[in-house]
Every structure is written in structure tokens, then in C-alpha cells.
């Protein structure tokens, strides 16, 4: 029996599944927004701003989800400061510690980028905040937010791998898989948002759909590599969660939008469903596995 089967489940369920989904979208959306901001044309800017809004909303929801998932939510700050001394708490080799700081920094830069975007649109009473979106400062904020955003998109898979649980610790491919899935779901979410705000026919929206197809191909390849890397442990996926993975994630979430990319809105919705199901399968398929010593064994 694999060594990972003798461990206990951390009871990470819906809050964490939702965080992995929302956090990935937030990280990816800020990256896409920055690309539109730095390389795009003036007519691409409304969608760039939407990307920053999506990013900052996503990071706020992420922080909330992570906090309510704690058994002691009021102690959330123990992740950042040593509760006894008040000094910074940071462990470079512990993904959750790095992730807590990453989320804080991503949140900070995503907030600045979104504030700049809102000021640019005249939605804020402080027009001088436009400076956050303009020129070199705007680009630096955008690039930093994108870097931390990509980190947030991928570290969650690394965090699962740096454990001893079945499936998670039996592969090194979860980080890159979640990252590609974050890219595809972020493009899909941004595309839906753009359509809803009347920018569905814009050139930037068409680019998002094209980018999404590329991301889906990468996601499919990473998913295959992930399942193969599980080796004999992969057998635990035979059953309900395997069907969800094959039909829901691969069939509905990846192949259908790849083969039938029109209409964009339908494809984007399927990508979001697939991305959510991917995280659901990865977390819940691992949860019930526990080999116990007690009991009767025939010999």
C-alpha cells in the first residue's frame, strides 16, 4: 500500500475548493489585464480595467474564504506575524506560509491597480489616483501584481504536493495543472464579464477566447501528465471522481470548448465549470482515503 494512505485528511472541503477556484481566476485575470494595459490599444482598456476589478474582488473573496475555513478565524494573522513576539512569520519552505505572504502582496498590488483603473474611469472622488494606472508606475504595479497573481494561481497545487496525502503528495504536477487551469478560467471569467458589460464583440474579447483555447491545450497536457505521474495510486480515481474528471473536467470543461469554441459565452461557461470540478475532484477524491491498522485481517 502506498505510504500516503496511512495519513489523515485535513478536512479541506468547499471553502478551500472555492478559494482554489476564485484565487486562480483572480491571479490570471490580473495577468491578462496587465498584458492588455501594457501592450494593448486604447480600445482594449475597458477589458483591462475589468480584469483588475475581477482580480481585486477575487482576492478579497479569497482572503475571506481562507479566514472562515480556519478553526480559529480570528487568529488568521498568526500566518503573518509571530503571535508571541509580533515579528514577521515566514517559512520559505512551507507553501502555506509563502502563500499567505503572496496573497497579501498580490492583494496589495491588485488593489492599487484596481484603484488606478477606477480613478481612470472617474469612478473615484480622487482623480489623482489615475497616476496608479498611468505611465511607468502603472506598468510596474501591473507587472508586480501579475507576478504575484501567477504565484497565487500555482502555489495552491504546490501546497497540496508538499503534504503526505494520497493523490496530492503522489505527484509533482498539481501546481502547474492548477496554474494552467487558472489561466483558462481567468480568460473565461473575463470574457463573460466583458460580454455582460457590452464589450463582447471587441478585439480584446476575441483575443481572450483565442488565449483560452491555448490555455486549455496546456491544461489538458498537464492533466494527462498528472494522472500518469500518479502511477499505481491513480487507481483510486476509478469510480465516481474518475467519472467526474473524465466527463466533467476533460469532456465538458476542456474538449467541448476546444472543439466547439462558438459561441464564446457557452464555451467560457463550460471552462469555468470544468475548472471548478477539477479542484473539487483533486480535493474530495483524496479526502476519504485512510488505511487503518485496527480490524480483522485474514491470512
Amino acid at each position: 500500500m502506498p505510504d500516503t494512505f496511512f495519513t489523515a485528511s485535513p478536512h479541506w472541503t468547499w471553502w478551500i475548493i472555492l478559494y482554489f477556484f476564485v484565487g486562480g481566476i483572480a491571479g490570471g485575470a490580473v495577468m491578462l489585464a496587465t498584458l492588455l494595459r501594457v501592450l494593448g490599444k486604447p480600445e482594449d482598456q475597458p477589458i483591462a480595467r475589468l480584469g483588475y476589478y475581477l482580480g481585486v474582488a477575487g482576492v478579497a473573496v479569497s482572503g475571506l474564504l481562507l479566514t472562515i475555513d480556519l478553526e480559529r478565524p480570528l487568529r488568521f494573522w498568526h500566518m503573518l506575524l509571530q503571535s508571541h513576539t509580533g515579528r514577521p512569520m515566514f517559512k520559505a519552505w512551507a507553501p502555506m506560509s509563502v502563500g499567505a505572504w503572496g496573497l497579501l502582496l498580490f492583494g496589495g498590488f491588485a488593489f492599487l491597480a484596481a484603484a488606478g483603473a477606477a480613478a481612470e474611469e472617474g469612478r473615484l472622488p480622487w482623480p489623482r489616483l489615475r497616476l496608479l494606472a498611468e505611465g511607468t508606475l502603472g506598468r510596474v504595479i501591473g507587472v508586480l501584481a501579475s507576478g504575484f497573481g501567477l504565484f497565487i494561481a500555482g502555489y495552491t497545487g504546490v501546497l497540496l504536493a508538499v503534504s503526505n496525502r494520497p493523490i496530492w503528495a503522489d505527484s509533482s504536477w498539481l501546481g502547474i495543472l492548477f496554474l494552467f487551469s487558472a489561466a483558462s478560467t481567468a480568460a473565461a471569467a473575463l470574457l463573460l464579464l466583458a460580454t455582460r458589460t457590452g464589450h463582447g464583440a471587441s478585439a480584446a474579447a476575441a483575443w481572450l477566447a483565442r488565449f483560452d483555447r491555448g490555455a486549455l491545450v496546456l491544461e489538458l497536457l498537464a492533466l494527462i501528465a498528472f494522472v500518469v505521474s500518479l502511477g499505481a495510486v491513480g487507481r483510486v480515481l476509478i469510480g465516481f471522481w474518475g467519472v467526474v474528471l473524465l466527463v466533467g473536467v476533460v469532456g465538458l470543461g476542456i474538449l467541448t470548448p476546444l472543439l466547439r469554441p462558438e459561441p464564446h459565452v457557452r464555451a467560457a461557461r463550460l471552462v469555468l465549470i470544468g475548472g471548478f470540478l477539477l479542484r473539487t475532484v483533486v480535493l474530495l477524491a483524496s479526502a476519504p482515503i485512510h488505511a487503518e491498522g485496527s480490524g480483522v485481517t485474514l491470512r
Partner: protein, 261 residues
């Protein structure tokens, strides 16, 4: 600084009385499961079933029987936190709640832990779980409070057969090795030590003498540290991030050229 202290549990003399479970619960004031409602496992005389946030000692009952039950034996093992010299829980804890004490044991500080549950997923032995009463991750402290007062841990003191022995690790290892030799001579060739040497997570400061394969006792054959996956996993993800960036740039350029064409 005192020398490393720990447990040596000789499972071959365990009679399954569960005095250790009771002593542990009493000393550490751990609440009864399910509010004291009796729940039977239904397939074993063992009704505790596993270690968790309110069961820091658990006597496993392993019944090995032939198909017609004409031949068989009972294996009993008082399971507990292994107090690994290289501890997975301590490695991944993001709050610094998990510490190594002056006795080389591993303790979770209940006033620091915020219940993120990372240590539960990291422990290679499935030892840790949430104690609903405190809302924090908990496990055996090797009676840190008693050790500081020069006392023996409650379970070792309660054990009527000396299956659980407490003392300096160095002494315990010598004793355990003598016992394995004795058992081999007496005709139990399957007797072996689990976690007594440094190859297993730097050594388990709570190690075992067992009389079958580790898996039979619900123990992993080769427990590993979570960070074994860190480098490869982080590298692959970094490559992935670069690929996503590249895909975005290339598709954007291509898209713009198509637009001009």
C-alpha cells in the same frame, strides 16, 4: 539541556487494556468522543479506531485469523505521535505553533495554532487532528508539562505490562535491541524495530517493536517529509507560469497581426 527523551513501545507485551488511552485522556483533560455517547465500531473490539484531536493514545487491535478461524493471533499496539526527529508537521506549520522542546519532542502550542490543518495533511502517520473543544490541531505532547516537572508521561506510568516505556532515547534503543534478539531466540523471527534508527525521518523519538510488517499495524513502510516534493513541484509551476506568460504574449501578437491583415 536534557538528553532526547521518548517512548519505546514493545507491542509484543501489550494486552490491549487501554489503560494508556484512559490515563492520557484524564491527565490531558480530553473530552469523550460524541459527548460520551457510546459508539461501537461493529467490526472490532477496538472502538476508538484512530488517533485524533481528543485521542492522543490509541490501542490498535489487529486480529489475524485464518479463513476458518482455527488459527490466529491478536496484535495490539498502543499508537501515539512519533515525535519525529525530522518532523513533517513542524516543517509545514505556517504559524510557528509547532515547536521542538528541550526534550527533543514535538509539541503544538494551542495558543498559537489557528486551525489551518496543514499539519494534519503533512503527518506521515495520520496522528494529528482538530480538537473541537479548542479549535486547534492537537496530538500527544509526550506530557510536556509532566516532563518539565520531572515526571513520567501519564500513559507510560499507567501501562501495567511495561509495553510503553519512557526514558532517554539512547537507553531505550539499547533495551529494544536486546528485546528483539531475545524474541528471535524465542522463535519470533518477525520481531523488528520500527523507527529506531536514523534512516526513518532522522529517527522516531517514539519508536516501536513490532511482530509483523509495518503495514499490518497501519504504519507506512517508508514515511517521508512533505518537502521532498517542493523543489520539483515549484520548478514545474515556475515553468508553467513562464509558459502562460509566453502564450499570452504570442497569442496577443498573433491576434494583432490577424487584425491588421
Amino acid at each position: 539541556m536534557p538528553e532526547p527523551m521518548g517512548f519505546y513501545t514493545d507491542t509484543t507485551v501489550c494486552i490491549g487494556c487501554k489503560a494508556c488511552e484512559v490515563a492520557c485522556k484524564e491527565w490531558n483533560q480530553l473530552p469523550a468522543a460524541g459527548g460520551g455517547r457510546r459508539e461501537l465500531s461493529g467490526d472490532s473490539y477496538d472502538n476508538t479506531r484512530r488517533l485524533d484531536g481528543t485521542h492522543w493514545r490509541h490501542v490498535k487491535f489487529i486480529e489475524q485469523f485464518s479463513e476458518d478461524r482455527s488459527d490466529g493471533r491478536w496484535l495490539m499496539m498502543s499508537d501515539v505521535c512519533k515525535h519525529c526527529v525530522r518532523a513533517a508537521c513542524l516543517e509545514v506549520c505556517p504559524t510557528g505553533a509547532i515547536i521542538r522542546t528541550e526534550f527533543d519532542t514535538v509539541v503544538i502550542q494551542a495558543d498559537v495554532c489557528n486551525g489551518c490543518r496543514m499539519c494534519i495533511a503533512a503527518c506521515p502517520f495520520g496522528v494529528i487532528d482538530i480538537n473541537e473543544a479548542s479549535g486547534t490541531a492537537q496530538k500527544c505532547t509526550l506530557c510536556y508539562d509532566r516532563l518539565q516537572a520531572g515526571m513520567v508521561p501519564a500513559c507510560a506510568q499507567a501501562c501495567p505490562t511495561q509495553s510503553i516505556q519512557f526514558g532517554p532515547i539512547r537507553e531505550l534503543k539499547e533495551r529494544a535491541q536486546r528485546r528483539v534478539k531475545q524474541l528471535h531466540v524465542l522463535g519470533e523471527p518477525r520481531a523488528r524495530l520500527y523507527g529506531a534508527d536514523e534512516s526513518m525521518l532522522g529517527g522516531l523519538n517514539s519508536f516501536y517493536l513490532i511482530a509483523d510488517e509495518p503495514e499490518v499495524y497501519g504504519l507506512p513502510r517508508d514515511p517521508k517529509l512533505p518537502t521532498r516534493n517542493l523543489f520539483k513541484s515549484a520548478m514545474l509551476s515556475t515553468v508553467g507560469a513562464a509558459m502562460v506568460g509566453l502564450l499570452a504574449l504570442v497569442s496577443f501578437r498573433k491576434h494583432r497581426m490577424d487584425r491588421h491583415a
